[in-house]
């Protein structure tokens, strides 16, 4: 994964209402969301958003409904105009673009997948997938093979002549993904792309996305309200609340060091053993200790697999390796401690 920053958002504000610029002054001088609504009748959508999204990574923006996550993703391709701030893609400020440049950005650089699929009901699956090329003026003969290729890739071989209504929800969203992939844009915006699907199909689609990502290395911005989904997909996790970024870090770090009670609450219900990985809790090797270890585990193993390996014995410890080179050590007592979220421990203490 490269360190190149593909999308950089700085000081982004969005206020809905009659006179957003005036309301912006109030926000800058410290008015909160409720105050702004009560006193000035403006809705604070986003407040001082600063995020960097790295090339080739999946950045997940998570928050409950009303937290502004869908508003935020629409600022990237300017489906919504911000009140203040800047959005830079490859160093260019998108907000300076005129109509033509903006259309170019939407056609060549960013493609979007929608929660409600948003397929064209009167076009066939192939025609739908080819839409992103057709808008650039490519003829059907040029765009169809490309659309077919991506439809095959997402597992819709042979459905090309069907109409969207003939497909199930999961398959329709596959068309949505194929349509975004057909454009060959380096950035993919996914707005709650899997939220409308039932849990099993959702897992399938997450796996499909991760598989595609291993191959294509796109810059993906993924919106979700589901923490499990966020943790599964994210290379980088941004948590939004009331239009404000609460925490913005690697998912493992957020899980281990939640910054505020809101996130603690959030992460307390998670199966930590399945999400946390050895690399997040290992300690550096101190020469002498290497003798009484019980085996080796990989850097990216989940804690669940280590517990399985230890058969539940808390006295064990393991050498952590990356590409068969030892890089650290993990002992079971640390591991078990990491499994207990801070907040639930406190709650339990309060109870008794």
């Amino acid at each position: 994964m490269s360190e190149n920053i593909k999308i950089s958002i700085r000081g982004l504000y969005k206020i809905f209402g009659v006179d957003p610029l005036c309301a912006l002054e109030h926000v800058r001088s410290g008015a909160g969301k409720t105050e702004l609504l009560d006193k000035h009748q403006h809705v604070l959508g986003l407040q001082n958003i600063n995020v960097d999204m790295r090339e080739g990574e999946i950045t997940v923006i998570m928050g409950l409904s009303g937290s502004g996550k869908s508003t935020l993703i629409r600022h990237l391709n300017r489906l919504i105009e911000p009140t203040a701030g800047s959005v830079k893609v490859d160093g260019d400020n998108v907000l300076d673009y005129d109509e033509l440049a903006l259309r170019g950005l939407r056609r060549e650089k960013m493609s979007m997948v929608f929660q409600k699929f948003a397929l064209l009901p009167h076009r066939t699956v192939t025609e739908n997938a080819a839409t992103t090329l057709a808008v650039r003026g490519l003829s059907e003969r040029e765009s169809t093979p490309e659309a077919r290729k991506w439809l095959d890739r997402v597992g819709l071989n042979g459905y090309g002549e069907h109409y969207p209504r003939q497909l199930s929800g999961g398959m329709q969203q596959r068309v949505g993904i194929a349509r975004a992939l057909t454009s060959n844009s380096p950035i993919m915006l996914m707005d709650e792309a899997f939220s409308a699907l039932d849990p099993l199909i959702r897992t399938d689609m997450q796996d499909l996305l991760l598989e595609l990502q291993r191959e294509l290395h796109k810059t993906i911005v993924f919106i979700t309200h589901d923490l499990d989904e966020a943790l599964k997909l994210a290379d980088h996790l941004v948590i939004l609340k009331d239009g404000l970024i609460v925490q913005n870090d690697e998912p493992q770090q957020i899980l281990l060091n939640p910054k505020d009670p809101y996130i603690e609450d959030f992460v307390s219900d998670i199966n930590r053993a399945r999400v946390l990985r050895v690399r997040s809790i290992m300690k550096p090797i101190n020469g002498d200790k290497t003798s009484d270890v019980h085996g080796e585990v990989n850097l990216n193993d989940t804690l669940e697999s280590v517990i399985e390996k230890s058969n539940g014995d808390v006295s064990h410890s393991y050498i952590v390796t990356r590409d068969n080179v030892p890089v650290g050590i993990v002992d079971m007592s640390t591991l078990v401690k990491a499994l207990v979220p801070r907040v639930s421990a406190e709650k339990a203490a309060r109870k008794f």
Partner: protein
């Protein structure tokens, strides 16, 4: 004002009880004081204004609407010249292409065959051809107006009251100013009346249809960088088509209603027979031609509805 009223009352018999005084209308006021105009002066004033601008209006409207006369004259002469064994198959072919239903084609064949059998073929064809021209022009002008309305809230605010007026104005009222503007012998006289009356639903439903297009799909279209043009022709119009077609159906039915009334101003067709039935108290002629109009109405309605259903079936999402 009170003095004047008292004077007016005083002038009349004093025996009337006090509560029986008349509303201070123009005529009542004029009785008391001759310097008030009478209400017939108002209607006369309206008439004079209309007559004064009539010539100017005609100079503008006459050439603008002349093509309508030509089109109506042309199609009426075509159906007159074309033999029945050519016209009927052509109509049945159109029915088939629109509905793709052989049952409906059979039904239309029986209805038209019946009308021809009782010697109403010529009149029915004249009625159909007038409807054809007028409904075509309604769609031709109505759809763009509807599209323009759907894109501008201001335009919508202006046009909706006009549509409301056109829709509520009794059909006979359309005819009055038109008779003064154009000669009664010109086909465009009834053509304009029919178009004004029948264009309303197609405008309304085009506007509604485009405004009802799924926001998500429009957003998706925007996110792929579609131009306004691509969006209009590739997304909005196709998705609004069921509503637009419902408007076309209504427009055709309303043209049929108006073409009967328009026989008062020399529109040919079945309406002439109905009029004869009323004028000469020829009960049978009136009823049979009325039945003919009902049959035409059923044919037009079924065919357009079948076309609409076909579009609906291909559009159902999810």
């Amino acid at each position: 004002m009170a003095d004047l009223l008292a004077k007016a009352k005083g002038g009349e018999a004093n025996s009337a009880p006090w509560w029986e005084f008349s509303f201070p209308s123009l005529d009542a006021l004029n009785k008391a004081c001759a310097s008030f105009p009478q209400s017939r002066d108002v209607t006369k004033g309206v008439e004079e204004v209309f007559l004064a601008i009539k010539d100017a209006l005609r100079i503008v409207l006459d050439p603008l609407t002349q093509p309508l006369s030509w089109m109506l004259e042309f199609i009426l002469s075509v159906v007159q010249v074309a033999p029945w064994w050519l016209m009927l198959p052509v109509i049945l072919l159109i029915v088939y292409l629109a509905s793709k239903s052989l049952r409906l084609v059979g039904f239309v064949a029986i209805c038209l065959g019946f009308l021809a059998f009782i010697d109403h073929y010529d009149h029915a064809m004249q009625t159909l051809s007038i409807i054809f021209v007028c409904a075509f022009l309604c769609v031709f002008f109505g759809v763009p107006i509807g599209i323009a309305m759907s894109r501008s809230d201001n335009l919508q605010r202006i046009i909706i009251p006009i549509l409301d007026m056109l829709q509520t104005l009794p059909p006979f009222v359309y005819l009055i100013p038109l008779i003064f503007l154009f000669s009664v012998t010109e086909p465009k006289l009834y053509g304009i009346a029919i178009i004004l009356y029948a264009i309303v639903p197609v405008i309304r439903l085009t506007d509604l249809g485009i405004r009802l297009v799924d926001e998500d799909v429009i957003e998706a279209a925007d996110s792929f960088g579609m131009t306004e043009r691509q969006k209009l022709f590739g997304v909005q119009i196709p998705l609004a088509l069921p509503n637009i077609m419902a408007g076309v159906n209504q427009t055709i039915m309303m043209s049929l209603a108006m073409v009967v009334i328009a026989s008062l101003v020399s529109a040919p067709g079945l309406g002439v027979l109905v009029l004869r039935g009323i004028r000469n108290l020829e009960l049978g002629v009136g009823l049979v031609s009325g039945l003919g109009i009902v049959l035409l109405a059923i044919i037009l309605d079924r065919v357009t509805k079948a076309a609409l259903d076909r579009i609906n079936a291909s559009q159902k999402s999810q």
